[in-house]
Structure formats: structure tokens, C-alpha cells
């Protein structure tokens, strides 16, 4: 940040920013570019700015939120993005179709399989490839496992942001079992790089199946037990209820999808609304809740974990034999055209719009990330609440900064 001569600090009018006083100014060094910026960066009577992030303990990564406070009350807020921007979309334009799969992996890094799933589906549409049924079953099986891992981590984060120390470590136990399982299947713990155009990279193996079978026998009880510390906790429930309430119309207007939308009462789920893969054949419910507050978003994810367990069970029982990947040439040159594919990730609609110009590299790969979309409603939900609620609301929307900044 370049200090202009004699500019006064918003913290203390006696301090000018030429003196190196170590003040990180929330106000940007340039004149306001929009009306909104001009309005936001003007302090009213008794108000102050506070910089939350990018190195704040609970902004889930490197998000900076400039809060305008009146005492403890948040008057307004302005999320500043881009601290984790890696230019993944541009990188994908300079990589061939197979390579893009590993490029999109670290976007939403707690649910990497869904990051791979939607571009892979889009490329399959471009190439008119028929995916073998066993590959589809393996995709659904591993995807639902990853959904449970992501939701389990969400529960822990939620509690940590409300000041509870223990649930995060308990939920990491759950996540770690799943992650070890997927590591046995894919070879990686976090960025799996498992899906391939036309199928998956490796078949089910003994290590994965034995871990999965072992875990499935106790998964439901174990998740219930580890959540008992929160679900029946008066402090937790009182802090979450009626906080950050959003109604279904506003949620639609803010382009919310996934659990955050279903918590307002709309049973919209891509797996049912625009069916893909083998989901039409599977028997599972779309849980909804009507309150639309943080507690509803939290409880809804518990219901989703139970539905995911049902799906995994069915996948294991119906798993067909056959090849796991379609036969495709090494170098892919899809016909020029456009394809759109959406999957229901743990955070909502994760979709990709791919444009091919006939070469072996995508001309454009537009990634629609639910974290980014959900983060924009923080500005709608927060004003009027307290600082402590910023964390709770943000955690309940479950944004992953890797996906927000791409």
C-alpha cells in the first residue's frame, strides 16, 4: 500500500501514514470508484472500521472482511477477495483436457472430487462419450464419501467459530477415516485427481473396500455420538437459532443453492432436479428445513450425511461389473462447441461451462463455484448483528476460500 503524503489514519487522526506506525488501513489508498465504495468508506457518528482478516483465526482461509462497527454491532461490511487467487481458469486454458482435471482439484479443497466431476462431465458431453456404468457407480460412491467428509468438517468448524474446542477434533476423526479410505482408492489424501474423462482412474481395491465396510458398520452411530456435544447444547442452539435468517425468495435472488437453499424450504437438488450419473436409479430423499437460519443449515447437513450413507449403501449393493473407463484416444480434440455440466456438491451447485475450439486445450473453462455465490449474501445477513455472529453466519454458509478466489 502506497502512503500518500500526509494522509490521515482512520484509527487516529494524529497519525499520518507517512510515519511507519504499522497501521494496516482498511480504507483503500485510492479514491472511491463506485457509489457503494464511497458510501461504505464514510464513517458515521461513533462508527469505526475493523479489518477482519486476511490473517484472522476464523475467516476460513484468507478472506478479508472490512467491518463497519458501531460498538459491537456490525453496521455494514465489505468482503475483500483475491488473497488466494491462483488464476485456475486461465491455467486451464493452457493445459490439455486431461491436465485441467488436476488444475481444478485445489479449488474447493475439502471436496475435491466434485471439482473434478463437473468438468469431466462437461468434456464427456463435448466428446459424446458413454461412461461405463461401473465407473458411474464408483464416482457416486466416492463422491458421497467426500460429501460426508466435507460436511463432517463443516460441523467442527461451525463449533470452533462459536468457541467450542472439541468438536473440530472429533469431526476430524470422521473426516480422517474417510480421507484414508479415499487415499487407498485414489492415492491421495486431499487432492484426489481421480476422475478421468470417460471414467475413473482406478478400480475399487481391497484396502478401500475393507476400510469402507469397517466404517459403514458404525458410521451412523459415530456421527451421532460426535455431534451429541453440539446438538443438545443449550448455548450452541441459542446462538444459532434465528441467526442469519434468509427466506426462500431472497435465497433464490442471491443465487443460493445446495444446503443453504434447502434450509429455507426449497427442495432444489441438482441430483433430482437435473439428474446426472446414476442418481435417478437411486433411492434417497432431499431433506429440507423451513427456518432458514444457521441452526437449520447446520441440522440440514446432518440429515444430508444420513442420506449420503443411504446412497453409499445402495451403490455397494448394486455395483455392476465391467470396465471403469471408456476407450478414448490419448490426445483429445473435441468438436468445436459448448457444454455445461452441473453437479450437486456439498456446498451446492458446482458447475462448469466449457468451450472447445477444436484444439486439444479448452478455449474457456468457466467455473461456477457455490462458495463465491454464498459469500455474497453475508453482506445481506450481517448488518444489525454482533461481531461474534459474523463468524457464525459465515461458518454456517460454509465458504471455502480456495473456491471463492479460484
Amino acid at each position: 500500500m502506497t502512503a500518500t503524503a500526509g494522509r490521515q489514519s482512520a484509527d487516529d487522526p494524529r497519525v499520518t501514514l507517512d510515519e511507519q506506525v504499522g497501521v494496516f488501513e482498511p480504507v483503500p489508498p485510492y479514491p472511491p470508484r463506485t457509489e457503494r465504495e464511497a458510501e461504505f468508506y464514510t464513517l458515521g457518528d461513533g462508527e469505526m472500521f475493523i479489518n477482519m482478516g486476511p490473517q484472522h483465526p476464523s475467516t476460513h482461509g484468507v478472506l478479508r472482511v472490512v467491518l463497519k462497527l458501531d460498538g459491537e454491532k456490525v453496521v455494514d461490511l465489505d468482503p475483500v477477495l483475491g488473497y488466494l487467487h491462483r488464476g485456475v481458469e486461465k491455467l486451464c486454458e493452457n493445459a490439455d483436457y486431461h491436465q485441467t482435471i488436476s488444475q481444478v482439484d485445489p479449488l474447493e479443497y475439502v471436496s475435491s472430487l466434485f471439482n473434478e466431476w463437473s468438468p469431466v462431465m462437461a468434456y464427456e458431453k463435448l466428446l459424446d462419450v458413454e461412461v461405463p456404468r461401473r465407473a458411474e457407480y464408483i464416482r457416486v460412491l466416492s463422491g458421497e464419501l467426500n460429501r460426508i467428509a466435507s460436511h463432517a468438517l463443516f460441523m467442527g468448524w461451525m463449533a470452533l467459530d462459536l468457541g467450542g474446542l472439541t468438536p473440530i477434533l472429533w469431526s476430524f476423526i470422521e473426516r480422517d477415516e474417510i480421507v484414508e479410505m479415499l487415499a487407498a482408492l485414489t492415492g491421495q489424501r486431499m487432492l484426489f485427481n481421480y476422475f478421468r474423462i470417460g471414467g475413473v482412474n482406478g478400480d475399487l481395491n481391497h484396502d478401500f473396500m475393507s476400510r469402507l465396510g469397517d466404517w459403514m458398520t458404525r458410521a451412523a452411530e459415530q456421527i451421532d455420538a460426535s455431534l451429541g456435544l453440539l446438538n443438545s447444547n443449550e448455548i450452541f442452539v441459542r446462538r444459532m437459532r434465528d441467526l442469519g435468517t434468509i427466506d426462500s425468495q431472497t435465497a433464490l435472488r442471491m443465487c443460493m443453492t445446495g444446503p443453504n437453499l434447502r434450509a429455507t424450504g426449497l427442495p432444489f437438488d441438482i441430483r433430482r432436479a437435473h439428474p446426472y450419473s446414476i442418481y435417478p436409479e437411486l433411492d434417497f430423499d432431499i431433506p429440507t428445513r423451513n427456518e432458514g437460519d444457521c441452526l437449520a443449515r447446520y441440522l440440514l447437513r446432518i440429515d444430508e450425511i444420513k442420506q449420503s450413507l443411504r446412497i453409499i449403501d445402495q451403490c455397494l449393493h448394486r455395483m455392476p461389473d465391467g470396465p471403469i473407463i471408456a476407450k478414448l484416444p490419448r490426445l483429445l480434440r473435441p468438436r468445436p462447441g459448448r457444454a455445461y455440466a452441473a453437479v450437486e456438491g456439498p456446498r451446492g451447485q458446482y458447475s462448469v461451462y466449457a468451450i472447445s475450439d477444436g484444439t486439444d486445450q479448452p478455449f474457456r473453462l468457466r467455473i461456477h463455484d457455490p462458495s463465491f455465490i454464498h459469500l455474497q449474501s453475508v453482506g445481506l445477513l450481517m448488518p444489525g448483528h454482533l461481531i461474534a455472529d459474523t463468524m457464525a453466519v459465515m461458518a454456517s454458509l460454509d465458504p471455502i476460500m480456495g473456491g471463492v478466489d479460484k
Binding site: 497501521v23 459491537e72 468457541g163 472439541t166 472429533w170 453440539l230 448455548i235 454482533l386 463468524m391
Partner: protein
């Protein structure tokens, strides 16, 4: 001066050590001679001002006592929360990692002590001192054991709350002087929270004071002697509940640790502190936990009283009356004890050399001897038994605080204030009125 410096620089390191020791010896000799000459006069002055001497000694002892106490509680917290989190916790330094908190203490001593530009450096430096001393000085009136207390004041409880209330001034100073908005928010939260919770905290104890008729903590403990049914907890259950909740808030512990809520305002008032100045805040927090537990035990759980009338065993023997027997005891018993304890190892395991058996026997003898001395002290010295009972109960409550920290999330600031004014205050007033009415009714019926 220059010559001294040059000579010192020319010395080797062992030479410097020897020279320093020689100087120290010379100083000690001079001091000893001075003491012999001035001794009677000094003793006279000290004897004439016994309360002052007692206060200085007690304050020093209490100050020194807080450091191992804080280390112990920090270790307990690390280990117990780790076990609750299904982690292992500290296990590297010392047996079961028990010295890790000592290492933490050394670490904060060695870290850079940083004052941010823009901070009000005087207030910034004073704040941890005020907080720490405010907490520690309350320990002066706590009766640890029969006859083991700093000062038995007739307004002991009032003094306790007054000194405890000083700590918040330190937090507010830290929050204001740090030139940081997170610190400011933390300091203001501390002020609002602690002042709000002082009210129910004090009122919850008033009922107990009506029953006891005294504010001297020592007298309060003496009133609760006998069976555990004589403890005030049974007469003042509501008072205890309000007191414990308010005391948790006073000590800034989970679920009321809003002043240093790490997920909201980073570290609250301590955000800009580093090194030993942060260490003082850190220590003060854990000393506070001990103090609050100690006061809870003193007021409601019989202090140093055993939960049942302890059988009066007196094994006290005058060593002087033994005469030659004492010499024999000191000379013979260790040797015989070592041999006796070593014998089974030597006889049972043919592969074990005699010296190994003797080492084992010696170690075992030491353990037995220490246990015997402690046991003797426990049954025959009243204050040892009292201290042990007191510490057992106090650390029971410390465990409770740690348990709450491991389990509960944090409340919100408006819930915190609402709870104090809407629930705790009426509850403590109700307790006060019911107690007062009951006391009057019982007195009238008795008369």
C-alpha cells in the same frame, strides 16, 4: 573502570566464573559480619512491626506460589483437554510432558518484548502488572490450612472482591493502551462483563454471610467444621449456583471467555502483547482459575475441613527424648531397610547382580521413607492434612473449569449481559430474601 573492563575481558571463562564466585563469597562474608553486628537491632525492629513483616513475607510467598500453581493448571488444561479431544497432548518434556508448561514459561521470558508504535507505553507496561497483582493479592486472605493464611481480616471477603475487581482495570488499561481495535473491543468487553457479573457475585454471597455472621474467611471455614453436611452448600444451593456461574465469568473462562474470544477478536486485550508481559496475562488467567476455585471451596465446601471428623491421631514424638536411639535410627534403619527391600529381588531373580538389587532396594526404601514421613505429617500435623484436603477440593474445581473449557462453546455478548441482569441478579436477590426470612423465622421460633 576501563582497567576493570580490560582485565575482565582478558580472563578465560573459568576464570570469570571463579572471580564471580570469589566476589560473591566476599559479599556474603561482609553481609554475615554485618548481620552479626546489626542482627539484634534488626530483630528488634522486625519484632516491633510484626504485622508488617507478616504481610511482606505472606505477599512474597503468595507471589512465589502462583508460578508453580499456574504451571500446574496450564499443564492440567493442556493434558485434560487433549484427552477430551482424543489427542495425546504434551508428552515430550518431563514425565508425561509435565514440564511443558515450565518450558512455556521460559519461552515467554525469552521472547521479544514488543511495544507497538502508537501504544501508550507506560499504561501498556503497567497493565499486566495491575492484572497480575490484583489477582495474586486476593490469595492473601484465603485460608489454606489451619493457621496457614496471609492475613485473617474481619473483612476478608470484602477485601477479596475489592482486589479481584482491580484486575479488570488492568484489562481495560491493556485494551486502551494497545492502539489496536481488537484490544479495545476486548478491554471494553472485559469491563462490561466483569462489572455486570460483580453484582450477582457479591449478592449471591450475602445470604451466606447472613447465616455465618462473619466476613472473615478463616471464621467461615471454622463454622463448617464437622461432617460434610455442615458445609454451606447444603444451606445455600442457589447461592452456590449463582456464585459459581458469576465466578466463571469473573475468571474469564469458557463459556464466558469473551474478552479473549480467539475466533472473534483474535486475542482481545492481549492481542498486542508478547514476551513476559503476555506471560503475566496468561499466568493471571490461570491463577484466577485457582483463586476462584479456592474461594468456592472456602465458602461452600468447607475449606480445609475434611468431609468427616478426622480421627485425632497424634504420633508426634520429640526427637530429643530418643537420645542415642535417634543416632541408631538414623544409622541403622536405612541400611537394614535397603537390605530388606533388596533381598526379594536378589533371591527371586538369579540373573540379577547384587548391586542392581541394592540399587532397587535403595530406591524403594527412599519411596517408602518419603511416604512414611508424608503419612506421619498428614496424621500428626494439622496443617498438612488441612492443606491436602483444601488442595484436593480446589483442584477438583479447577478440573471442572477445564472440563467446561473442553466442552462448551462461547456465549454471545448480549446473551452474556442478559443472563447476568435477567437471571442471575433476580436469582441472587431471591436467595438473599429467602435466607434472611428463614433466619428470622428460625430465630423467632427458637425464642
Amino acid at each position: 573502570m576501563a582497567m576493570v573492563t580490560r582485565t575482565w575481558n582478558r580472563l578465560t571463562i573459568p576464570g570469570r566464573v571463579v572471580l564471580a564466585l570469589l566476589l560473591l563469597g566476599a559479599l556474603l562474608t561482609v553481609g554475615l559480619i554485618a548481620l552479626i553486628i546489626l542482627g539484634p537491632a534488626i530483630l528488634g525492629i522486625l519484632g516491633a512491626n510484626l504485622p508488617v513483616v507478616r504481610f511482606v513475607v505472606a505477599a512474597t510467598v503468595v507471589l512465589l506460589m502462583t508460578i508453580p500453581t499456574a504451571f500446574l493448571i496450564i499443564y492440567m488444561e493442556m493434558k485434560i483437554i487433549a484427552l477430551m479431544n482424543l489427542r495425546i497432548g504434551p508428552d515430550r518434556v518431563g514425565p508425561f510432558g509435565s514440564l511443558l508448561s515450565v518450558v512455556h514459561g521460559l519461552k515467554v521470558l525469552m521472547k521479544e518484548d514488543f511495544t507497538p508504535t502508537g501504544a501508550d507505553s507506560t499504561v501498556f507496561t503497567l497493565a499486566p502488572v495491575v492484572t497480575y497483582l490484583g489477582s495474586v493479592m486476593t490469595l492473601l486472605v484465603i485460608p489454606f490450612a489451619p493457621g496457614l493464611f496471609g492475613q485473617d481480616m474481619n473483612i476478608g471477603l470484602l477485601y477479596f472482591f475489592a482486589m479481584g475487581g482491580l484486575a479488570v482495570v488492568g484489562l481495560l488499561m491493556a485494551g486502551w493502551a494497545s492502539f489496536n481495535k481488537y484490544s479495545l473491543l476486548g478491554g471494553l468487553r472485559a469491563a462490561a462483563q466483569i462489572i455486570s457479573y460483580e453484582v450477582p457475585l457479591l449478592l449471591s454471597v450475602v445470604g451466606l454471610l447472613i447465616l455465618a455472621g462473619t466476613m472473615s474467611l478463616n471464621q467461615l471455614v471454622l463454622n463448617q467444621a464437622g461432617w460434610f453436611t455442615d458445609w454451606y452448600i447444603w444451606q445455600q444451593p442457589l447461592g452456590f449456583a449463582v456464585f459459581f456461574i458469576a465466578a466463571t465469568a469473573e475468571a474469564n473462562r469458557t463459556p464466558f471467555d469473551l474478552t479473549e474470544a480467539d475466533s472473534e477478536i483474535v486475542a482481545g486485550f492481549a492481542t498486542e502483547y508478547s514476551g513476559m508481559r503476555f506471560g503475566f496475562f496468561f499466568f493471571a488467567e490461570y491463577v484466577n482459575v485457582f483463586i476462584v476455585s479456592a474461594l468456592t471451596v472456602t465458602l461452600f465446601f468447607g475449606g480445609w475441613n475434611a468431609p468427616f471428623p478426622f480421627p485425632d491421631i497424634n504420633l508426634a514424638a520429640d526427637p530429643a527424648s530418643l537420645g542415642l536411639g535417634l543416632l541408631i535410627l538414623v544409622m541403622v534403619v536405612p541400611v537394614v531397610g535397603t537390605l530388606v527391600l533388596a533381598a526379594p529381588f536378589y533371591l527371586a531373580r538369579s540373573s540379577m547382580p547384587a548391586w542392581q538389587a541394592l540399587v532397587i532396594g535403595f530406591v524403594l526404601f527412599n519411596i517408602v521413607a518419603v511416604a512414611a514421613v508424608l503419612g506421619w505429617a498428614f496424621v500428626s500435623l494439622e496443617w498438612v492434612a488441612g492443606l491436602l484436603w483444601f488442595m484436593m477440593k480446589t483442584y477438583g474445581f479447577v478440573f471442572l473449569f477445564v472440563w467446561m473449557r473442553g466442552t462448551l462453546p462461547r456465549v454471545r455478548i448480549d446473551q452474556l449481559m442478559g443472563f447476568a441482569w435477567k437471571w442471575l441478579l433476580p436469582a441472587s436477590l431471591l436467595n438473599l430474601f429467602v435466607t434472611a426470612a428463614a433466619v428470622i423465622v428460625i430465630r423467632e421460633m427458637g425464642a
